[in-house]
């Protein structure tokens, strides 16, 4: 695999989660639990692939399971109007716990179930999900900025009253956007567990969902800039890994590991000068 393919492959899980978070934030929902939904997707993908032998079924299972988690988030944020950050935190706890319990239980009865066949490479060493990440950059931009649906999504996060006045349902926009976010996070988890890797390990998302959340802000809520940010982050990750493999690092290894995060923080600090989040982001009273 060439370096470019490597970078795109490592960017895909984060990037796909970014798309989900982006849609969610656009309609005004703060999604802290991208991480948890990715984790659920990662496990579902491996188990379903391992049982059916088809990675395609694995991806569908990942989407469905993560969407169920998103539906739970919806019940608490949209119906009960609880604080988004608190619900997201609880959902993350739940995801880590449930995937941990289920993976152990399943492995006890079926020792090989957490190993699955990876997605086959389709083009230049990239698998279907990696390619999806790239293809979606222009598609998502077009949907969000050039269609009625995109206008509705943006209006829901910016001026929900106007959406209601125009005869559309703010609740429906938020509900389905949140489910879409779940679906993207499920795919992102699959891109990790049966894309990059071929098994499930505890907490294997390793905070990629949180990084995605930061990259959305770095990318100014634009799919294009977010994807570029994701590729930048992935390049650092790949660089760091290759430096470690070559054993020629002038920095202490842990600092090298922290470097992508430090730069994300720096980008976060500089990106916000001219942008602001959707106006009704995280506001629970307006529906």
């Amino acid at each position: 695999m060439s370096v470019i393919t490597d970078i795109i492959t490592y960017a895909a899980p984060v990037g796909l989660a970014c798309y989900g978070g982006l849609i969610s934030e656009k309609v005004g929902i703060v999604q802290i639990s991208l991480e948890g939904m990715m984790l659920i997707g990662a496990l579902a993908a491996v188990v379903a692939t391992s049982v059916t032998g088809s990675p395609f079924v694995g991806v569908i299972a990942a989407m469905v399971c993560a969407m169920l988690a998103a539906a739970l988030h919806n019940i608490f944020t949209l119906v009960m109007r609880s604080d988004h950050v608190i619900v997201g935190t609880a959902l993350n706890f739940l995801a880590i716990g449930i995937t941990g319990v289920l993976s152990r239980t399943l492995q006890k009865s079926h020792p090989t179930i957490l190993k699955a066949q990876s997605l086959p490479p389709l083009l230049a060493g990239m698998n279907a999900l990696t390619m999806l990440f790239i293809i979606l950059i222009p598609v998502l931009w077009w949907v969000l900025h050039r269609t009625r649906l995109g206008v509705g999504i943006a209006a829901t996060g910016e001026l929900p009253k106007a959406v209601t006045a125009a005869g559309y349902s703010v609740f429906a926009y938020r509900f389905f956007a949140s489910l879409a976010c779940g679906a993207f996070c499920g795919i992102a988890g699959a891109a990790l567990s049966i894309g990059i890797s071929n098994n499930f390990t505890d907490n294997m998302t390793a905070s990629r969902g949180f990084v995605a959340l930061a990259l959305i802000v770095v990318g100014r809520w634009s799919p294009i800039w977010t994807a570029i940010g994701t590729l930048g982050f992935a390049s650092l990750d790949v660089l760091q890994a290759s430096l470690q493999a070559a054993g020629k690092s002038w920095l202490p290894y842990p600092i090298l590991l922290a470097l992508p995060y430090i730069l994300t923080l720096v980008a976060l600090g500089t990106a916000r000068a001219s942008v602001r989040p959707p106006k009704y982001l995280g506001i629970t009273t307006e529906n």
Binding site: G100, R104, P254, L265
Partner: protein, 345 residues
């Protein structure tokens, strides 16, 4: 009035049953009998003198970090970076605890250093919020990941033990240790620090101008600004204060329990603290029983592990408790509102 109290108590109890039932189902999925797991949990938390001591030992860092969360969340500052502040507090405490400081001063220097460590770690998110408007929830979280690597670097570099064999630090000097309360048990005097802090912050929040400001800012930033409150200064101070508390928790852990730094250092106290603080409904005094509950769960879960239950079940229990609280609050609001709509009080 009596009816309302009975009603909200009933709602709480109903949700408690829902929570218990959910936990029992998860335990059964994990392939164990709920009753024997409950027994193992209770025994692990309270069964022997050692277990009781361990419950309190686990409670201490949870209580202090929960106070850090309470203060920040009161102002709607979602500092979920307490974990990182805890780690940096531990790093600085470990460094300061090895300095040649005479007598009882050593403990004070160690703990103050840990508070500085935590405050400095939260200074970056505070500055980013103040000057760039970056949400605390993001910046403080990213700081956690960096903090983990700082600890990893410290125990392999600047703070590594003199013989440089393992990735861990040398122990702090005996004078910098927090004394044990009972000979032979792990329980240390940090418990008094934690309880006194809870009382202190209860008074601070209820009886001082700062507490009133915090309340105002928490219920509406824009309104507070219109009222002429120094909102950004209050937020800045609150984030630093929260960070200092998180750091102190790390310092108390070094001085009271481990006496040296290792990698990884935290069991995720800073994250559990969020659950503790929310269970306590952001009340400093309420954080005492809430932290005790989670301390008992942590202490008990190691025993439950021998009953065939993976420790991750603890995370499920945490989540179920959080969701139940949210559910209970919602139903209580709904029922009480429709109640008062029928008969305006």
């Amino acid at each position: 009035m009596m009816q309302r109290a009975a009603l909200s108590a009933g709602i709480s109890i109903a949700w408690m049953f829902i929570a218990l039932a959910t936990c029992a189902i998860v335990v059964m999925i994990a392939g164990a009998a709920p009753l024997s797991v409950a027994q193992a949990l209770i025994h692990g938390a309270t069964g022997t003198q050692y277990n009781i001591s361990n419950t309190f030992v686990q409670t201490i860092p949870l209580l202090i970090t929960a106070l850090a969360v309470v203060i920040a969340f009161r102002a709607e500052m979602f500092n979920i970076g307490v974990e990182g502040q805890f780690l940096l507090g531990a790093v600085l405490a470990c460094w300061a605890g090895q300095l040649a400081v005479p007598g009882p001063l050593a403990i004070i220097v160690t703990l103050v250093a840990s508070m500085l460590g935590g405050a400095l770690w939260s200074l970056i998110p505070a500055l980013m919020l103040h000057f760039r408007g970056v949400q605390i929830v993001l910046s403080s979280l990213i700081m956690n990941f960096i903090a983990v690597q700082v600890v990893a670097w410290m125990v392999r570099g600047p703070l590594q033990e003199a013989i440089r064999e393992y990735p861990q630090s040398d122990p702090i000097r005996a004078g910098a240790e927090l004394p044990k309360i009972i000979q032979g048990l792990q329980l240390h005097t940090g418990i008094w620090i934690a309880v006194v802090l809870a009382i202190f912050f209860d008074v601070l929040l209820r009886r001082t101008t700062y507490g009133q400001y915090l309340k105002a800012v928490g219920s509406g930033i824009r309104a507070s600004k219109t009222m002429g409150l120094p909102v950004s200064r209050i937020l800045f101070t609150t984030v630093l204060l929260s960070g200092a508390l998180g750091g102190l928790a790390g310092g108390v852990q070094i001085a009271g329990v481990t006496h040296f730094l290792a990698d990884p250092y935290s069991k995720g106290y800073g994250y559990t603290a969020i659950a503790v603080a929310l269970l306590a409904r952001l009340s400093p005094l309420g954080a005492i029983p809430a932290a005790l509950l989670f301390g008992a769960l942590t202490s008990g879960s190691s025993a439950a592990q021998s009953a065939g239950i993976p420790v991750v079940v603890l995370q499920v229990i945490q989540a179920v408790i959080l969701f139940s609280i949210l559910g209970a609050r919602y139903t209580a609001q709904r029922i009480l509102r429709s109640d008062s709509a029928g008969a305006p009080a």
